[in-house]
């Protein structure tokens, strides 16, 4: 409120807010340094002005998707079928996000097909099947324990022959430090390319919004294994802020495309930089 100076105290509070939102020390220091170079210390500046500068600096860290690979649910997709492979560590919300995406694409008039390539986690296929029923879209599946790459292959082939617009491939959760499981992902990816050479068109890495600095390692290893093209951050309906995506976007230049804000089909939002930055500081209202 009113006038304030950008002094040590303001910067300390800013540091606390950023670190407390999981932005991480390195990125926080970067942001603070940028603010310092823009406003001479101890200069009088009102809160709105400071917030604007902050907003600009942080938004600048959040990269946009290249135009060749950006789309809205109701726009024409960059290719047909458009194959989205969904990856991430255990329990982050991959399957749920697929259910939500399926619902949104379907609602926008697209033909959607799901592929149940998590053949490992207990009842993973049943879970995705329920989502396919909720969204009203078909699913390709095999028995639990079958080869996930074979399921992905079948799905893509089926999608081509059915004339699907969007194919969503679910994969089993895996921790990024498990080399054999990461190799399996690379294989799933390669096998789909036998049907469509440039598939998958999108590799969506799902991150749990309450995850701390380990998300950076996740981004690093999943990118190495599968060329991640976009991020989805889930569970932002809680009190966690998901600030680590700032560091990820900044370091790996991967755009955030979606955020999850609940467990229902409707609880998916297209990522909005401005609102995200607002929520980091609870500026909304």
């Amino acid at each position: 409120a009113g006038k304030s100076t950008v002094d040590e105290e303001v910067l300390d509070n800013l540091e606390e807010a950023l670190v407390g939102a999981d932005v991480g020390i390195d990125t926080t220091v970067q942001i603070i340094e940028r603010i310092e170079t823009r406003v001479a210390k101890d200069k009088y500046l009102n809160t709105t002005e400071l917030n604007n500068i902050l907003q600009q600096e942080i938004e600048a860290m959040l990269v946009d998707a290249p135009s060749a690979n950006s789309y809205a649910f109701d726009s024409e997709l960059p290719s047909k079928p458009y194959v989205i492979m969904v990856v991430g560590v255990n329990g982050v919300g991959k399957t749920t996000t697929i259910g939500k995406l399926a619902h949104n694409f379907k609602k926008a008039g697209k033909n959607v097909l799901l592929g149940a390539a998590d053949t490992f986690r207990a009842a993973a296929v049943d879970q995705l099947t329920i989502w396919s029923e909720r969204a009203g879209v078909p699913i390709v599946k095999q028995d639990m324990g079958s080869d996930p790459a074979a399921v992905a292959f079948d799905t893509v082939q089926s999608g081509v022959s059915r004339g699907s617009d969007v194919i969503l491939i679910d994969t089993a959760g895996r921790l990024h430090n498990k080399a054999h499981l990461m190799d399996e992902l690379s294989k799933i990816r390669r096998v789909m390319q036998k049907v469509i050479p440039d598939a998958p068109h999108e590799v969506l890495l799902v991150l749990d919004g309450s995850t701390g600095q380990n998300a950076l390692e996740q981004a690093k290893h999943f990118t190495a294994a599968t060329d991640v093209t976009a991020l989805a951050i889930t569970k932002l309906d809680g009190t966690a802020k998901g600030g680590v995506v700032l560091a990820i976007a900044n370091q790996f230049k991967i755009p955030v495309k979606f955020i999850g804000v609940g467990e229902k089909m409707e609880d998916l939002l297209v990522f909005n930089k401005h609102e995200f930055v607002d929520s980091l500081f609870n500026l909304e209202k």
């Binding site: 329990g91 879970q127 380990n214 809680g238 009190t239």
Partner: protein, 296 residues
Amino acid sequence: MFESLSERLDSAFKSLKGEGRITELNIAATVKEIRRALIDADVNYKIAKEFTDKVKDAVLGEKVITAISPGQLMTKIVKDELTELMGGNEVELNAKGNPAIILIAGLQGSGKTTFSGKLANYLKGKKGFSPMLVAADIYRPAAIDQLKVLGGQIGVDVYSEPENKDAVSIAQNAVKEAKTRNKNVLIIDTAGRLAVDEVMMTEVANVKNAVNPQEILFVVDSMTGQDAVNTAKAFNDRLNFSGVVLTKLDGDTRGGAALSIKYTVDKPIKFISSGEKMDTLDVFYPERMAQRILGM
């Protein structure tokens, strides 16, 4: 990725060479490095500050360490403090009762259902225990199927009522059923919920009040960041849980959430979960966790 803490402290200590005793001023860089390491490990920002202030107070006035590696020495002090903070009296799982009731709660996807299976498997292997799993998650798609698959893998009965949409009565009915089936431990798997979800928090509190569990275990993902403090506090306020379970420690997270939670609610960490298979359950070792947080 992380430069080891003791190396970082060594360089922070370089500035101290030639000084007599440790003072507020000459220890500042070292304290900052320790704080930074803790925050990098996801220890809550405020807790990292309080903790390092405590360490600082402990070494103020000491002679400047002349050892070859003061960083090593300082790291040891920090590690010992951390270990003590996270340890305390070892508290065994209380599975006495007829049946003993263990309620499992936590955020979405933290690993509750998997842990429920592991715990049943662990107790089954111990003399005198005959566990039954209870499927009280009425929300997640295929939650019952998931628990049944796990129960099948370990040969433990699963109690479920697919048509019943009331977690409280499912839990109550399971208690009656345990008696007829001669099961002496019930493990109640509940739906994931956010601490800010009033309706869901009330539901789990109602389950607690209806069945009066011997143990309430709060299951938390070890990759959790700064929010671990809020979540642990909110669940503890509602449930007064008896212990914490840390999951997914087979990853490479430093796991600073463990410290944040212990510091905030002061409840023992009773188990660690490190894998998707049913036999990957272990008891908690405070020293190992301290080393992990510090990247040693």
